[in-house]
Symmetry: C2
Subunit: 324 residues, 2 copies
């Protein structure tokens, strides 16, 4: 039965990737040629600076925003809120173990005290939750069985759930999935869809039941430990009980609004933020195929029993700082 379930995934892995070797997934990625790494545009990177921790250490979290065709209404709102410096001075208000860290205006649900949102934000419709794309080219890509969507796959650097649109066609629909580190848009009860003013990051086992119920707008690519190691809130849903427990947000900026690092200048020495540069391993590359196969079939020396399969969220897309 296992062979039945995994047949689709195995058939679609290039033959070269199936040759047994003892390299670990990380070793495979380290050997990727430069041509397989894709730069992330500075306008797709959000830099969140939290107040320093109790020992005075700086805390910076970098988020990659979701590319088209998914969730672009919310992503545009988030860019507008960052440009307006609207998030500055807000806080992390909720940390629920094995679930999410959430940040935004702690008074957001109190109309009298809520921080005023800038004009011009887009209001998304109810159906925008689903954020699916129909007519996808699934059959050309490696597929993994998936309990939530039917299949899972990777495209343009992101993990997607995929299923047939109907049993009468070969059209597929795809949507982004809630893996560890993914960032989504907090909302109230439907038909509210959230604006992007309230965001959360996943810090536990993938809560895939949220897929197509909340808009995903990105993923943490650096500094997730500054969110995942925060004290858990003791109120319902992990909200902090007191204002003193909240973690202040100093600023949230688009990387494209930060100055480029200048080796000739001393700006970094005095603590001024400069633009970070990141790149991801192309999910369409030969190295990614070999990496994903190795995540499913560990043969490096520690392992005795390769699994023969993997969960889409246990194949994190490699992302790294790019050389200047």
């Amino acid at each position: 039965m296992r062979s039945l379930l995994l047949a689709a995934a195995i058939l679609a892995v290039p033959a070269a990737a199936q040759e047994p070797n003892r390299r670990s997934p990380n070793e495979i990625v380290a050997a990727a040629p430069a041509s397989e790494w894709v730069s992330i545009a500075p306008s797709d990177l959000l830099v969140m600076t939290l107040a320093p921790d109790a020992r005075g250490k700086p805390r910076q979290v970098v988020i990659q925003l979701m590319p088209p065709p998914f969730s672009q209404g919310w992503v545009e709102n988030i860019r507008a809120l960052a440009k307006a410096r609207w998030y500055d001075g807000l806080s992390v208000n909720r940390v629920q173990d094995n679930y999410v860290v959430q940040w935004g205006d702690p008074d957001g649900e109190d109309a009298a005290k809520a921080k005023k949102l800038p004009a011009g934000l887009r209001v998304m419709k109810d159906g925008d939750y689903l954020a699916t794309v129909v007519g996808d080219d699934l059959l050309k890509r490696t597929r993994w069985p998936d309990n939530y969507a039917g299949f899972a796959t990777f495209k343009n650097g992101w993990p997607l759930g995929t299923s047939m649109k109907s049993v009468h066609s070969f059209d597929y629909q795809s949507w982004p999935v809630h893996c560890y580190g993914m960032v989504g848009v907090g909302r109230g009860m439907p038909p509210d869809t959230g604006s992007g003013a309230e965001l959360y990051a996943v810090i536990g086992h993938a809560p895939r039941h949220l897929d197509r119920n909340i808009a995903l707008v990105g993923r943490v690519v650096e500094g997730i430990e500054h969110l995942s190691s925060l004290p858990r809130g003791t109120e319902a849903l992990g909200f902090y009980k007191t204002a003193a427990e909240r973690v202040p947000i100093v600023s949230i900026r688009l990387a494209s609004d930060l100055p480029e690092a200048d080796p000739a200048s001393s700006s970094e020495a005095v603590g001024q933020q400069t633009r970070p540069r990141f790149e991801y391993l192309s999910t369409e590359s030969a190295t990614f195929a070999a990496y994903a196969e190795a995540r499913a079939n560990r043969r490096d020396p520690f392992f005795i029993q390769p699994a023969g399969g993997a969960d889409i969220c246990n194949i994190p897309v490699p992302v790294r700082r790019a050389a200047d």
Copy 2:
């Protein structure tokens, strides 16, 4: 294709559980009759007391040990080590984000400095890693498709991976799986199997590739936040760089070695540990079937799109404090 993959799980759910309703999984569990809760024996509970946190708050983690037929050699060693008070004074030495927290003797790999183990510990064989049980009664139980094992199921309160022993028989083999909060036995390279002196808990997305590669001996049933919110180590694999970063373990005791709480005594008032009592929701109960179905098909008011399936590790077995 989704319907094919999920057919086994859906067919095996009792018809009553499929009636649409708007109760959340937690509401379903809250309505379970007392008869569906199973007491955990005090000899199956391990109470780990860490040093208080920076603000002086106590930190206690309770672990339920794995019942037969799995991993009993290591479980017996852990009971012997706790009875010998061998763990007392050791520390949490490794915290790797989205992976594991590990504790034991920080000098364990230095023969000259390592803390001497008590005599009489069992030495397990290489094949004991696999910890499988053949001839399982899988066909009588609710099954979930699983990318790692073929199928996953629950038995006697634990999540198990299950696959056919061979394509020529209807014999199944089962083994415990690495979900969030599961506790396992650290080891070096094979054929080392570890003794139980070095333990870890999962604090991230289920690292299911470790199944059948490391022995699982239990799960955290209370206080996981005292492990998951620890600062991440900055050395390779998340080890702490300095001894000062390690988190001291005050004691690890079997609950059966702690005195029972006595309402007439003031022992609790002066901080003496008393025996905690826990119970889990029978995974063979009607309520668990309805709960698991609701985890896969959220219909409570926040949700718009029920998933139609779930990952075995996204159906945590409910465990709670029992009334005295």
